[in-house]
């Protein structure tokens, strides 16, 4: 029987959503054009050539190397693209993605990428045409609610702040805004440079929808520790598994054999 990765334990919607993110089996909710994704990323003008850091691999006379024979280069690596990034800030108020799960998604599903995980932002770096592809998957899919998740290269402050009255996550640079038509628009690229035209990133999810799609445990949605009092704890399976790992890790340090 072929091995089927299980990714994450638990019967809750959080566990199920975490499995979806890790497996890459994501629901596509919108279709933002390639050019618009490129414009928001802000690394090159849409339609411009890809700057390169080395000639295409095919022209470089690669050495005879078993690893090179095993690993097919990504399109960006084959072309010699520079390394670029996209970075997302996800609100703690039930944004669909959370930093570690963006990283797990990247590490499992995106070849040649380098995810970096922080509390208020999550970055994935890769060759330019590769990261553009990976970014589009994130922007188009259920990983992103445009009101609660923003592409932010710098000044990322906002993931833990209260939402604005219109339900948008705080952004000092006001890169996104809620349009009168109910769609969220990017007015600035990910480092805050104004765009030539506003870019439609789609409609925000309803509160019920974010509660259903989120991957964060919260007491007011799906709790990690059961009912939120010491008297009636019931640990999520993820927490039980974590206890096991922590205990093994601690004991191994005492007797590393």
């Amino acid at each position: 029987m072929a091995y089927k990765p299980q990714y994450y334990p638990g019967n809750t919607s959080i566990g199920a959503n975490r499995r979806k993110h890790m497996s890459g089996d994501l629901e596509k909710l919108r279709d933002i054009s390639d050019a618009d994704i490129v414009a928001i990323m802000g690394h090159r003008a849409p339609g411009a050539d890809y700057p390169s850091t080395h000639p295409p691999l095919a022209e470089m006379g690669e050495p005879d190397c078993p690893v090179r024979q095993l690993v097919t280069p990504t399109p960006g690596a084959a072309a010699g693209d520079r390394i670029r990034y996209s970075q997302f800030t996800d609100s703690m108020y039930n944004a669909p993605a959370i930093p570690y799960w963006r990283s797990y998604w990247g590490a499992i599903n995106c070849r040649g990428c380098d995810p970096g995980t922080l509390s208020g932002r999550q970055i994935i770096e890769a060759r330019e045409r590769d990261i553009e592809e990976y970014t589009k998957v994130q922007m188009d899919s259920e990983m992103t609610d445009p009101a609660l998740a923003t592409m932010r290269g710098c000044t990322v402050h906002g993931h833990s702040l209260r939402l604005d009255e219109d339900g948008m996550m705080f952004d000092m640079l006001a890169r996104t805004e809620l349009g009168s038509d109910g769609n969220v628009y990017y007015a600035k690229d990910q480092v805050g440079i104004p765009l030539d035209k506003k870019i439609n990133a789609g409609k925000p999810m309803s509160e019920a929808e974010t509660a259903k799609r989120t991957t964060i445990f919260r007491c007011d949605n799906i709790s990690f520790g059961g009912p939120c009092t010491a008297e009636s704890r019931s640990f999520d399976e993820g927490l039980v598994a974590l206890h096991h790992m922590w205990e093994r890790r601690s004991k191994w340090g005492f007797r590393p054999e």
Partner: protein, 559 residues
């Protein structure tokens, strides 16, 4: 079963910060984007910079420069309440540059050295046949309190330091010998029996036996001009000169070298170890101050021994300021960002609430301080309940989450509360450390986020070093320090480790965590910083009520 904790100590602070009738549970707000002018301190900065710009002849402070001119201060800038105090100050007032009390706290460490008297007395008695009596010791200490600030003895009247610039300098002695202590002039004695609760006094005296020690605090201005390595050198010179004077020695005789060697090396306890070349600092610099020493410098253990969490929280406050704000934030990195890692640990009663919750739960369940089984199950239970409670408070109070806006702040606070709880309830610092690491993992697993790259790295691999006995990994927490391999580069940890190591001893009712001499030395009432109430000291500094030493205004034109 634990009792329901309803104190929510942070609510009062949040009401002070956001307004009395503010809805602390609301998840939405109106961002008025008022810019820097919304805040009194930022207005003061702008005003001051404007005045100075012409004088400087070069551009200066301008909070309108960010990202093409978006003014800073787009969110609400709120003040900070120093935990357990009534002091409310602006965040800027807690940057050590703006806070003279914080500077003095560090100055008090860097300018301090403990030097044994017994070795010198043996040289005098056995080698030179001199008589050492309480009277000669009192005479010696009188001369020393003249010489140590930088005055001349033995030689003719040489160049000296101005007494008004060095009046913070003093030397007192302490001893485990009650008979000798009785004979020492009160002004020169750190009286263990008077300053410490009876049981602690007995424990300290038993630990040090009949030995005698000097608590030496050289002038702040000297250590600020030079460095921590100066302290032993400055003090050794003045000690040697004083011995010559007090015991009528020949200034050039070989025995003086023995006294100098004792003062510089053989009988010296530095506050901090020297660091290796890659972090090159001399002794008595922050990177070498072990967590146990830090725990012993803080004096809450003798003034509030009935309140182990309070003892630990004051050590956390001292440690985060020194290790995060000054050591990592300035010596090692530079800039301003580190301050808000530290402030999270000593403001707004948040860590206090989480820690007291954990302790209430644990005392209720296990019966009392240091009475829980010292095993991994206790650490698991305490860390899990404390962390889940803390996460739930952040969820229930969005303003609290906003106050600790960064994951590193939250992770450090929740793990510190878990460690303090487990330390107090088991009396074992390694168990407390195990709880610290579990808390980080629970936080990361529940919310899918923790701190930053390096922060997470340290805490996710950290459980393996808790019980390790391998040379570069193991060590009781008390003798680990900022230069411990896995701790050396991470903000938001080291002060908490110091607090956790103190929690174990506070729970046990110990008089000290690591070194009894350090504990007694910092009981010296003449130290300028408020070593028994760290947060109060920071509040005084922030409120501009604290007068630090080491100032030069006396010898400069008035501003």
């Amino acid at each position: 079963m634990g009792k329901i904790h309803t104190k929510k100590l942070f609510v009062k602070a949040l009401n002070k910060k956001f307004g009395k009738d503010f809805d602390l549970s609301g998840t939405k707000t109106t961002y008025e984007r008022l810019g820097p002018e919304q805040n009194a301190r930022k207005r003061e900065f702008i005003e001051a910079a404007k005045k100075l710009e012409g004088k400087r002849g070069i551009s200066f402070y301008n909070p309108m420069l960010h990202c093409g001119g978006v003014p800073m201060g787009q969110r609400q800038l709120v003040p900070y309440k120093l935990s357990t105090t009534e002091y409310i100050v602006e965040g800027d007032d807690l940057h050590f540059v703006n806070n003279p009390a914080m500077q003095q706290m560090w100055d008090d460490i860097r300018r301090t050295i403990v030097v044994g008297l017994d070795m010198a007395h043996e040289v005098l008695e056995k080698r030179l046949g001199k008589e050492v009596t309480p009277e000669t010791i009192n005479n010696y200490l009188e001369i020393l309190n003249h010489a140590m600030p930088g005055a001349a003895v033995v030689q003719e009247h040489m160049v000296e330091t101005h007494p008004a610039l060095v009046d913070d300098c003093n030397v007192r002695m302490f001893t485990g010998d009650d008979d000798l202590a009785d004979e020492i002039d009160d002004q020169y004695l750190i009286d263990i029996n008077k300053l410490f609760p009876a049981e602690q006094a007995e424990e300290l005296k038993a630990a040090m036996g009949k030995t005698s020690w000097q608590a030496i605090h050289i002038p702040t201005i000297v250590s600020r001009t030079c460095d921590g390595g100066t302290t032993s050198r400055w003090s050794a010179m003045q000690l040697s000169m004083t011995f010559i004077d007090a015991y009528n020695m020949c200034a050039g005789e070989a025995a003086v070298a023995d006294l100098a060697f004792a003062a510089k090396h053989a009988a010296v306890i530095q506050m901090g170890d020297m660091l290796p070349a890659r972090r090159a600092r001399g002794p008595n610099e922050p990177g070498g101050v072990s967590f146990g020493f830090m725990a012993d410098m803080v004096q809450t253990s003798r003034t509030k021994p009935w309140d182990p969490p309070q003892v630990s929280l004051n050590v956390v406050a001292a440690g985060t300021m020194l290790y995060d704000q000054i050591w990592l934030g300035s010596y090692m990195s530079g800039g301003v960002g580190f301050t808000q890692y530290a402030t999270a640990a000593y403001t707004n009663d948040v860590l206090d609430d989480f820690s007291y919750y954990g302790c209430d739960y644990a005392v209720d369940k296990y019966g009392g301080w240091a009475e829980a089984p010292i095993d991994i199950e206790t650490a698991k239970d305490c860390a899990t309940e404390t962390t889940l409670y803390a996460m739930e408070q952040y969820e229930a109070f969005p303003t609290l989450l906003e106050d600790h806006f960064g994951g590193s702040q939250r992770s450090g606070i929740m793990a510190a509360a878990s460690g303090v709880t487990t330390g107090c309830i088991t009396g074992n610092s390694q168990m407390a450390l195990a709880a610290w690491y579990l808390s980080h993992l629970i936080h990361k697993e529940g919310w899918g986020r923790m701190g930053f790259f390096g922060y997470d790295l340290q805490d996710q691999c950290g459980p393996t070093n808790v019980f390790s006995y391998q040379p570069d990994e193991g060590s009781p927490l008390e003798i680990r320090g900022p230069n411990y391999p896995n701790y050396a580069m991470n903000v938001g940890h080291q002060g908490e480790y110091a607090g956790i190591s103190s929690a174990a001893h506070a729970g046990r009712g110990d008089a000290y965590a690591c070194n009894p001499l350090i504990k007694v030395c910092f009981a010296n009432p003449a130290l300028l910083f408020t070593w028994d109430d760290i947060r109060k000291g920071y509040g005084m500094g922030g409120a501009r009520e604290f007068r630090a030493a080491g100032e030069r205004s006396l010898v400069m034109p008035a501003v």
